[in-house]
């Protein structure tokens, strides 16, 4: 009924076992030159002929015999006797051995004159100056760049042998529906294979996606057999966990040999690698962020081992803005947003759940906490692998705190100015500490609309920092409950969702105090919760208002002169930002 991973293999060991089980093979195909960009050369490429094939003019002008130009001087211009008009790139007709630029001649009655003698070979491109026939153009294993193909074409190479790995991607899961179908509760849109295809294609692999296979061992077996027969590598998406409907292990175990099952990686634990007919079958987790980690760190590693090229990915040494805990023994990958604040690059972490795809979408990079580390301290230098062009970091603003929907709209408008707003979720205290340490461009705090709250929760921790504060959202909160709130029911209510120092907690405690009811200590159980009216309404619950929460954008004054921060403040203060507070966050894609 239940089943455990026997062992979680450490990541380095898993990769070593994988490389040993699947040595680089001979995966090659020939493609037309135009399709070679981004692919990796399987063989060295040599020039088919010399370029230029003969001596040619470097400039527009006159081909001359250098020996006949001797004696031309400023004071004694020389009319050209024997010459030929040549344009840039044209072959020098014999017996000429030099070129005089048209700019260095004067037209006098149809005869060009020069004021300086021409040296032998002047302004002439020698045959083979760029490359000689048979000379190496690109070595084996080179990822072809856009401008490389200009050179290859020039040297007569119009087809290229490139490394080629066929990857078959099989989605499994009875809960999956294809892209374009709205999922019913309990259903999930099948997206992991789409993502795998997009990612792996860019390493130079050729991907083929198969149809969704329900959780049925016989059907999975059939799909794996077909994919193994048709590809060099098979990705079996989901089903490699240890639940009652996870059949991947049994199926591939019966078809071949398990190399490992379970890797000490977060996110990404339930990874399965098997050898079926000498080919690797990789079972990836269903959680999308876990699947991404495995695609990058395991499938990407195998493809690199086989000679394909990992995605170009900038690296940056930055400081971590706050402590990150991590379990000893697990290689952990954490999405972060990097921004440069007062000359120092800081990485601020996003949530790590395997299902929080938005964390990866919001991030501009990720960092790797090795298994030997129990965590990384705030302020420590870390290496971040970027998922955006490194140059974009200079235009990135990091905002730490409440990720209010109003921030999204601010970010949209900010993007018009060329700046990108990255919002990293944090408590009020987290936001205040980031402001104090100067690791963010801006912070957002959600507080009861009172000076007391602002003083207690913000100012007292930042006594020496001048701040700018702009309200970006204002929300009425209340108690959502199944029944009416009378004195009796209030006394026995247990409230969920109210961590210390949140507006919900502070407003509720003050409201309960006004009702003459002592606040109960938080427990694991809940009969009621504090939320905005809209949320209570959507859940079909009764709403009893208790007060207003203000979400404020807070900036250190010493950063306010920064171009990006100034633009952010200007937009936050503009009237459009307050036009429709109620509609914030109800965006709609145009159809």
């Amino acid at each position: 009924m239940s089943r455990r991973y026997l062992n979680l293999t450490p990541l380095p060991e898993a990769l070593a076992a994988m490389r040993q089980a699947f040595p680089p093979g001979d995966h090659v195909e020939t493609v037309p030159l135009r399709q070679a960009v981004g692919r990796v050369t399987a063989e060295p490429l040599y020039a088919e002929y010399s370029v230029p094939p003969a001596d040619i003019a470097k400039f527009d002008g006159y081909a001359v015999k250098s020996s006949e130009t001797l004696g031309a001087q400023d004071q004694r211009p020389l009319p050209l006797a024997e010459y030929a008009r040549v344009n840039t790139g044209e072959v020098l007709p014999p017996p000429f051995d030099a070129v005089v630029m048209i700019e260095d001649t004067w037209d006098d009655g149809g005869i060009p004159r020069i004021r300086k003698s021409a040296a032998y070979g002047q302004h002439v491109r020698r045959a083979g100056e760029d490359i000689r026939a048979g000379e190496l153009v690109l070595p084996k294993g080179h990822r072809v760049r856009p401008f490389d193909i200009g050179a290859l074409a020039t040297y007569g190479i119009d087809r290229v042998r490139v490394r080629s790995v066929l990857v078959g991607i099989v989605p499994t899961g009875s809960d999956l529906v294809p892209l374009g179908t709205a999922p019913a509760p309990g259903q999930t849109v099948e997206t992991n294979t789409l993502m795998a295809e997009a990612y792996l294609t860019r390493t130079g692999a050729t991907c083929r996606r198969y149809g969704i296979v329900p959780d049925d061992p016989a059907l999975i077996r059939e799909a794996v057999e077909k994919a193994v027969a048709e590809n060099d590598l098979v990705i079996l998406s989901a089903g490699s966990s240890a639940g009652t409907r996870d059949f991947s292990r049994d199926v591939v175990g019966a078809l071949g040999e398990i190399v490992f099952h379970g890797i000490a990686v977060r996110p990404g634990k339930p990874v399965l690698l098997a050898n079926v007919d000498g080919k690797p079958v990789l079972g990836t987790p269903g959680y999308p962020v876990a699947a991404q980690t495995v695609l990058r760190e395991v499938a990407g590693n195998l493809l690199a081992w086989w000679g394909l090229s990992p995605l170009p990915c900038g690296e940056l040494d930055v400081r971590l803005s706050r402590r990150l805990a991590s379990d000893l023994g697990f290689d952990e990958f954490v999405p972060v947003s990097v921004g440069r604040v007062s000359g120092t690059c800081w990485a601020t972490p996003h949530p790590r759940g395997g299902g929080i795809q938005m964390a990866v979408v919001r991030a501009n990079g990720y960092l790797h906490i090795p298994a030997a580390r129990e965590g990384i301290e705030g302020g420590e230098e870390v290496r971040v692998r970027l998922t955006v062009p490194p140059a974009s970091i200079a235009h990135t603003l990091v905002c730490v705190g409440r990720r209010d929907p109003a921030l999204s709209e601010l970010g949209n408008r900010l993007s018009e100015t060329g700046y990108l707003l990255h919002c990293c979720n944090a408590s009020t205290m987290g936001a205040v500490l980031a402001l104090r340490a100067n690791t963010c461009h801006a912070a957002t705090v959600a507080l009861p609309e009172t000076e007391e709250a602002w003083n207690d929760l913000v100012l007292r921790y930042l006594p020496d920092v001048d701040l700018l504060r702009v309200q970006v959202a204002r929300t009425e909160l209340g108690v959502a409950s199944a029944g009416d709130l009378d004195a009796d029911s209030l006394a026995s209510l247990r409230f969920a969702n109210r961590p210390k120092d949140t507006a919900a907690r502070l407003l509720l405690d003050a409201w309960l105090d006004r009702q003459g009811i002592p606040a109960d200590p938080p427990t694991g159980c809940a009969d009621a919760r504090v939320c905005p009216a809209r949320v209570a309404e959507e859940a079909g619950l009764r709403f009893t208002p208790i007060g207003y929460e203000s979400c404020d954008l807070v900036v250190r004054k010493d950063l306010a002169a920064d171009d990006g921060v100034a633009a952010l403040i200007r937009i936050a203060r503009s009237p459009e930002s307050h036009a429709s507070p109620g509609s914030a966050g109800k965006g709609r894609n145009p159809t």
Copy 2:
């Protein structure tokens, strides 16, 4: 008959004029999600529904009512009374409010038991935890990454409005032949539009290449009119210079208004920008490296201005290994190879000619010398824009000196070990200075095969450096001449191709000395030259042997322990490297 650029516009002014003439327009198209990777969003994208849509199980296990698990302890395991088996990702059936992981249960006669109570909401993903319906997924202007499309698909977005610029690319030139045709002397393979397509497509533009247009004003006019009607931007490749067959200026000047003609950029000077029916027509130079510069710095700039995304390109602050001269008033772009030597990254320049495509192919980046600089000193810190993934720098070996064809084969074999060999051409003195300054991993020097030459040209400049030396090629040199070399003709011969301290010069001077003939001072004219036998033979000249040149790989002993350098030495010393000295450089592409 001749024509000059009236003014060379400085690059920043040219870009400003371009941006003013062509403000960002409304260039948008809708593409299926799979095709959105690498494109730039034209509008913000919002989630179509909440994810998860309902509370779901985070782990495989049992859905329970948290209130019924109170009291379970290690000493007092509790059998579950009411529960439902759930797998990861399944909706929590009411009235359950928490999940117990299967790993935390014991099966006892078919009834699962627990040793710890479950908190309210434990191991449950709340509805909307990842994203809520209507929440922002991607802002406008975001370049879609491979993993972004997984998130977009999950949130119900299967089509994306992306920025779209149609670029028409028109090749002009009567000397052009299409790819796949071997060019006769004076002909050039039409490659610039292929390169433009590959480059601009990757910024998110949609490119259309037109057929080759000969140098005929009427035909060029027709082609430009058609391309302007069908595209948002037209690239007119070549013909924008000031030669007799450069009609671009006249044609586009007649059709519209010239914005600028000639930019103070090297390479890239003959650039033409015109406004035809409100659309930009950009005339690019014919020399491929000049064309690349204009594609990157001008066309790329316009597309960025219009909201497309420039190619991701890592930047690295490095030191320049030797002085680079540059003319005041010209923005200059120089291909370089960057390598890390003893912990410091050094950039070594390649030749700068607009026709030397191999310089760009061999380089892994380029640097920009601003117009206000007359050059950059050796050792100065410069910012290099990389054309390879930054991580590859750690595996790059830079070799400075004679770029002997034998080096290509060394590089090919070295690539099997994961290292890339970059060869930067330099004189013997340049190579020796690079060794002395420790700015390269290895150097190659070509010398007469005598201890005297080695001592005079290498050792005396490196008295305190221990060196390793491996011969990689040995070539017999001789005098190539039209006629026989007897005493009379020898006395009157003028020799070309023999700069000071080259093996050719040293061997020739020694040989002339042996013949009792005084060496003449070098002039601009030449009747004979020193070269290998093969070259004389190919040119149909008589060959008189004068001695042997040795090309040696030289490495500082203090670098020999470096993994990459050790691999290079091992390969250079291996017997295969000396198997066929004569055939080096006569590579052939397999067919």
